[in-house]
Symmetry: none
């Protein structure tokens, strides 16, 4: 059917593992890569199905994609300037596990993001 364009994935990595489709598209253009917006969206859909990326929503409804997998951390994102701080989430891990166990869920994963306005904005 459709496989993901590897450059989309590497761009997402370079972006800090966290970006919207439109941002990835603009980044690739700036880097001189010829790619269509459609392909960016399609690649992200594929990466989603392969569980290589996760999707979240920003406050304005724009979908943001992030690499999932290895070192699990969360993000503190400025709604205004977009700056991102990686944060630890040990408390969340515990919470997710206990809540899931309570309801008999297995193979647990979770997403958690904090949005706000940073001290510079």
């Amino acid at each position: 059917m459709s496989r993901s364009n590897p450059k989309v994935l590497s761009t997402l990595e370079r972006a800090g593992g966290f970006a919207s489709a439109q941002e990835i598209y603009k980044l690739m253009q700036r880097n001189g890569q010829r790619i269509g917006l459609t392909t960016v969206y399609r690649s992200l859909q594929s990466l989603l199905k392969e569980n290589i990326v996760d999707v979240l929503r920003r406050d304005d409804g724009e979908a943001i994609y992030r690499l999932c997998g290895d070192s699990h951390h969360h993000h503190l994102v400025c709604k205004n300037c977009g700056s991102t701080v990686e944060i630890e989430g040990a408390a969340i891990e515990k919470w997710a596990k206990s809540v899931a166990a309570e309801h008999g869920f297995r193979d647990i994963g979770h997403t958690a993001e904090v949005f706000g306005t940073c001290s510079n904005c």
Copy 2:
């Protein structure tokens, strides 16, 4: 400036305290109330600013509004069958606030979801 149309609020209440702008609009039409979509959106914005309603995002990005005062909760979603359980998130609230404060962030919001495989699947 602009005050909220009281019928928008009562429709949201009748809808179970949980609906999108488009749904509220359609509900009001079915109930024979003459109102414009614009007014529905404007009223919801006002209710937001007055902290009478909260806004969340559905998976497809559509904004859903809910009366607040209902305790803020999160979701436990089955990856397989899609069944959803509402869960408490007091731990998350605290975590989000403390993490944000540590980094000097203001006007905090957060998202948190737990997903896995439910006992039936």
